[in-house]
């Protein structure tokens, strides 16, 4: 088992790098506020970043469990269908999609 000193050293490093990556861009952006580029990026980025997160998360699920790849696609379709058909209630859509995936993966 690794020593406690080693674990605490690594925890300190992990905290520092993670926090620095999240904080430094804000410090730099403070000076750029008002620039046309930063304003455009702040409007353009959210939908694209969300789409990238959705696709890579789906890809991760499909590769982690190749048997469940079709179930994952089906569950995403259910999630989208429920969300658009039943009034965009996030918890309901996420819950239904997840339930479909869990049931198919464990029961079929």
């Amino acid at each position: 088992m690794p020593s406690t000193t080693y674990l605490i050293t690594v925890l300190a490093i992990v905290f520092t790098v993670t926090f620095a990556l999240r904080a430094l861009p804000f410090a730099l952006l403070g000076r750029l506020r008002g620039s046309a580029l930063v304003q455009r990026l702040s409007v353009w980025m959210p939908v694209g970043i969300l789409l990238i997160l959705a696709v890579t998360a789906l890809h991760g699920t499909m590769t982690k469990d190749p048997n469940g790849a079709w179930y994952a696609l089906l569950a995403v379709a259910v999630t989208i269908g429920v969300h658009l058909a039943l009034g965009r209630r996030t918890i309901l859509s996420v819950g239904m999609g997840t339930a479909v995936y869990v049931v198919l993966l464990n029961a079929v």
């Binding site: 990556l21 970043i49 696709v55």
Partner: protein, 238 residues
């Protein structure tokens, strides 16, 4: 922190409640992942306290699951630092559109930055501007961290007692990001950004499937910079 927020009055209480509600759907994915982390840490022969300690130090789900194996193998700290840098580099791009300007108090501001995980970014990005506020954002982030640390502790408590935990609950994160994309995609003005993101993620999955998220974000930002350059040359289209 919660007392500090409450002092601002009743409107803030509604905002806090709204923030906690925002967090529920993210919690569906975060909590089971936390349990998985706790189980994994015990299975790797690491001490139980590492679960909450790691969750508080890193607060980045995918990274922590990756770190368990590295810690168990006593990987040199420099290699750990490099891994953290690469895996979490994507957070650099969130700063452009994360509503940190809403948060005034310096301690709260530092917390909002520290707790800017993928899920918190995604939930706040899908909210329209007029519905955002500092208490709502912070309440959502605090709740997410509670699910993550709480899930980890439940995982540790379950230990080997549970023969086979229910598989597939992590799909909730997949579903959450899909739903939030739908909510953000509400006007035709979003089509170019969505198409550029599609291009970025397709190329990334083909060329670097192992670090697809990182590559996709990098390509997406590159494409947006190109779009900005084009629009600056033809201001009539802007």
């Amino acid at each position: 922190m919660s007392r500090l927020l409450r002092d601002h009055g009743r409107v803030q209480q509604h905002q806090i409640a709204a923030g906690v509600r925002d967090s529920f759907s993210a919690g569906l994915g975060i909590f089971p992942l936390g349990i998985a982390l706790g189980l994994l840490i015990l299975q790797a022969g690491l001490p139980w306290w590492l679960t909450p300690a790691l969750s508080l130090a890193a607060f980045a789900g995918s990274l922590e699951l990756l770190l368990v194996g590295m810690l168990a193998a006593v990987t040199p700290p420099a290699a750990v630092a490099l891994t953290v840098l690469v895996v979490n580099f994507r957070h650099v791009f969130y700063a452009f559109s994360f509503p940190l300007h809403l948060v005034r108090h310096p301690v709260a501001k530092a917390y909002a930055v520290y707790a800017m995980i993928d899920e918190a970014y995604a939930v706040s990005a899908s909210l329209p501007e007029h519905k955002r506020s500092a208490p709502r954002l912070l309440a959502m982030q605090l709740a997410c961290e509670a699910y993550w640390v709480g899930g980890g502790l439940v995982g540790v408590a379950l230990g080997s007692a549970l023969p086979a935990p229910i598989e597939g609950l992590e799909f909730a994160l997949c579903a959450l990001f899909t739903v939030l994309t739908l909510d953000a995609f509400r006007s035709r003005q979003q089509i170019p950004s969505a198409l550029l993101a599609c291009t970025g993620v397709s190329v990334a999955l083909l060329l670097t499937p192992g670090v697809a998220l990182f590559t996709a974000l990098l390509l997406f930002v590159g494409l947006l910079l190109g779009r900005h350059a084009l629009m600056s040359r033809r201001p009539a289209d802007a």
